[in-house]
Assembly symmetry: D2
Amino acid sequence: MTNKAVHYSDYLQLDKILNAQELESDKLSLHAHDEMLFIMIHQAYELWFKQVLFEIDSAIAIMHQPMNDNSPELQTIVHRFNRCVTILKVLVHQIDIMETMTPMDFLDFRDMLRPASGFQSWQFKTIEAKLGLKFEHRHGQEYYTAQLRPQQVEIIKAAEHEKSLLELVNSWLERMPFFEEPENWENFKGLEGKNGTHTYWATYRECYRQSLSEAEFGNLAYFDDIFLQSDTLKTENGSLSAKANRAALFIMLYRGYPILQLPFQLLNSLLEIDEQLSIWRYRHMSMVQRIIGTRLGTGGSSGRDYLKAALDKHYIFKEIARLTSFLIERRKLPELSPEMEKRLGFIK
Amino acid sequence: MTNKAVHYSDYLQLDKILNAQELESDKLSLHAHDEMLFIMIHQAYELWFKQVLFEIDSAIAIMHQPMNDNSPELQTIVHRFNRCVTILKVLVHQIDIMETMTPMDFLDFRDMLRPASGFQSWQFKTIEAKLGLKFEHRHGQEYYTAQLRPQQVEIIKAAEHEKSLLELVNSWLERMPFFEEPENWENFKGLEGKNGTHTYWATYRECYRQSLSEAEFGNLAYFDDIFLQSDTLKTENGSLSAKANRAALFIMLYRGYPILQLPFQLLNSLLEIDEQLSIWRYRHMSMVQRIIGTRLGTGGSSGRDYLKAALDKHYIFKEIARLTSFLIERRKLPELSPEMEKRLGFIK
Amino acid sequence: MTNKAVHYSDYLQLDKILNAQELESDKLSLHAHDEMLFIMIHQAYELWFKQVLFEIDSAIAIMHQPMNDNSPELQTIVHRFNRCVTILKVLVHQIDIMETMTPMDFLDFRDMLRPASGFQSWQFKTIEAKLGLKFEHRHGQEYYTAQLRPQQVEIIKAAEHEKSLLELVNSWLERMPFFEEPENWENFKGLEGKNGTHTYWATYRECYRQSLSEAEFGNLAYFDDIFLQSDTLKTENGSLSAKANRAALFIMLYRGYPILQLPFQLLNSLLEIDEQLSIWRYRHMSMVQRIIGTRLGTGGSSGRDYLKAALDKHYIFKEIARLTSFLIERRKLPELSPEMEKRLGFIK
Amino acid sequence: MTNKAVHYSDYLQLDKILNAQELESDKLSLHAHDEMLFIMIHQAYELWFKQVLFEIDSAIAIMHQPMNDNSPELQTIVHRFNRCVTILKVLVHQIDIMETMTPMDFLDFRDMLRPASGFQSWQFKTIEAKLGLKFEHRHGQEYYTAQLRPQQVEIIKAAEHEKSLLELVNSWLERMPFFEEPENWENFKGLEGKNGTHTYWATYRECYRQSLSEAEFGNLAYFDDIFLQSDTLKTENGSLSAKANRAALFIMLYRGYPILQLPFQLLNSLLEIDEQLSIWRYRHMSMVQRIIGTRLGTGGSSGRDYLKAALDKHYIFKEIARLTSFLIERRKLPELSPEMEKRLGFIK
């Protein structure tokens, strides 16, 4: 197929990769041994960030095409998200390596790096943006643009303006064809179907209500707000429409049916990506705290605060995570009609 | 030495261990498959908590005896703390197992367990108390006594009243003989030694001051407050005296000298214990959030809040961690006197 | 649902779990600190072995009933096998804890345990048997029965005589309905279908042949031997029939089709179980080597050799692993007939 | 200190790092998605190999200077070796990422890479050589030189001809001053000291003999062969002299004494490096087997065999590991003379 013999070191462009470490401390003839580690670990992080972006981009490209139930793409997407999770777990583990650098060892070259900072990783911010983090939900907005170059900000901005994975997930959920819905939620009152019969969701709402203890009754209003709106309505600051929320909840409730197995795995992989990103931020924060400490007014200190605030604010798929609160026990689920059961299975 | 042959299953008392799983859902003839996992993982946690307690107890017993510089005990303590760190890392990893339980699977038996809760682990609270967490610093005090049996509360209370590891570390640091100190810090003014010469700490304070940028100048007041007090004075809510803080800082600054190598490893292992406990709480919190969700007013929800608050408040060795902020670059350290250098080395 | 309030420590039977550690060295008043760890880690292993057995038993029970394509069981099985993989990864990690015990520390109580040995874990041998390891394929047969009690041998023997997971996987693969096969492989010659047209496998064989380099041509005989036999024929010492091998290969080749996604995940999870067991044996072996060394004629030494031999011989699903060698590139795969494509998809 | 402001992406040379991935499959317009991962993971490995080499080089440089007991270097070396262990653990974990590539996905571009192969990593072979692997002990000698470029072979050859870490460890152990030895082992007979009194090692040998069961008696000949030779004599194929072996055994037996604590940690870190390298080879081998399978006569297959053979043959510090077999119980150790005790402690 190809005539040219490929050599390992050319193929991997090792001349570039292995000649990209230049120590600031060496330039000042104050060789700081641990600066090499510092450079190397950040380079390893950036390599993996590129890979994660590559996987997310490929998933986004697939999700832009209306996925056919007969096509292998859903499995492909799940597989690639699970790969991202596996990569993120290694990135969390990599923090162990950074922590072999003691505070005194870091001090040997810390001042020479100013004002460079890990928060200048535009690739990481692009990952967040492509997944679905909006600029207005970012912590430390001025902070992040101040430290980046214009062309790097451009890349993130572009990602913020494209359809995010979260938005594509919303559209995909809205397209789910597998459960009966009243034809017109817009004018829908009293949770009854067009011809007066109770719909699935009217029944489900009742089951859910019964599962609540008195102290939990407030949850019902949230339920109505999230699920029982006109199809495309979203809760305040929300990204998932009522219709998408219903589809996602339905997938969680009946994940065993053949047609729902991969959709369930997809939702689950999104939660795992969020969780691993969150663990990474938390461990990153602890590491910064441990190695840099908290001198007032320095990058180190504010970096730590940034990470801490981002912990809570940068969850992307929190609306999917939230669905857990609206599940009911399997044995109390409304029975599905034979028609619905059939739709959820394979060809017979 | 012993005549009786030992058999594996007797030795491990497997008849007890492997017959200690009784499912509540089975009692109700509503077999919930995942309840077995739920029981098993908590039992595995409690086994390892017992082991951690065993290691901490042995370290505490050793530290009650004034450690002789010629004795092997310091290495023993470091070794056992590192073992605790290794165990805690596995406990963090174990959360992966718990997360294979989906919210729907947990719902199958969740209601049958009320009001049992993971916060009834008196062993974990005892670990925190033995390390040095005071009752008054605990988050959710009423909450924790309400869920425990009187005899379990007794055990924790007893641990709270014994000398904690943190207090023993303070005493050990205060006993450190290796640097010259002015004889009477009580009446110490102007950071001069008895005979008017500058002491080590006067010099160090000056070096530290020079290392601060204008924005960081406020740190100097903290420095004086923490280090330059009468020997036994502690900062507000603090557990380490000024003398102990000076010793700990000195160890960090000169860790390479033979006599300081093990003390440095000891301080480091304490920080690692804190860090692993903190990661465990964080991942535990995420897991609870993911599997239980946040129905208002339930154990799940408040459990999550409890864990979140404890994240910040239950750090035990935060005063040691804080020292990082008072380090200066190695090349700017005050020179040690030949006398001091000699004290820090081995016999010649 | 249940009136009796459940308490954490009763529910977990902590009185049993936490009172099941009795040190032999204490009985001899020669307290060896690390013996506690030694007991505890083996108890933790046995807890998890029980859990793995519980998951495997549940999967075996499901696979005894002919699985319906419309039922959620396939997902359940995959989920439980993946849980086993997650547990096995933690068990591998747990070896780090054991390795905090130095050889000198182990010597303090080693002689007191004779002749107890980790190879007396009947639960682990039962796991191997239930997965599909036959007695005649075990390394060190005499060795393993000699160290176990009769009733423990009985349990393993019983597992060896029941249908193993491997045998059930064979039956399940043989039942796969999704590809066209010539009606009678028994009298099948020349790889032609009944009416003279080439079958799928005749075409595939040709594609495979073309993918082989000259040096690899010997593989074709293996191919014929494994796949192109009468339906129920197995290769020597093999557990999978020709029909099952064809089904498994087909699943790997076309895993993207909806109906093959879960079957692919199932095959993959079996390979992961084998891989984790193998990593566990390897790390266990290194650990034994490191802590015990190799005094001639002791349990330690032969234990190490046992583990080493088992590394190669105790692979259970090696016939599934072997299929990798018979794959061809996706772009060279024979085209599927529209009829077949339809069978592999969801209802339209 | 430095005037020029440093920017994150310049500092890390991200233009090189992130523009070093060119897919062979893209050149042929047969885009294979997983080729990106394949390139990236190998680049990440090579980055970390460079870091490991950097740490080993720095340790070797330190060990070339006779280390003074008063100097911080021993701690530095231990710290850097432990860092190597931490890195190697992440490299082992990274194999999880590679294993997200299925055999079918690899087939999409496998043929396009020929004859490139992971065994062309000259950095990895250089690591082995610097640690102490001799060319004549390598498995597959012809194989390894055939795949490398002349200048890469040169680098490995140079490493093989320099003093290896293993040789430097031997010299360092021979210099250990802390135990009494008969002045002239050359003419040493009957294990008596110069003036007829029994030396430490004569006593130890007797204790060791008593600890052996009848079946283990053969070990005594090994003991004499390894330890009771003229100072610089090595066993066949051995790298450690009798004197160095005695010193290493002594360190293991009395590791608690202040002066032996760091030396013990050093020996231990070498064993951990070997163990992690070995786990890496084993998991690497399993992964190759799983993704590539075993077509006869291909790189994949022989690669797997290479790794398997290397598993046993490429242990570097096996002589240190072997010492475990010559330890005796702490309570049966010969008593040290007060003179010796004093030498092993700190200044009083």
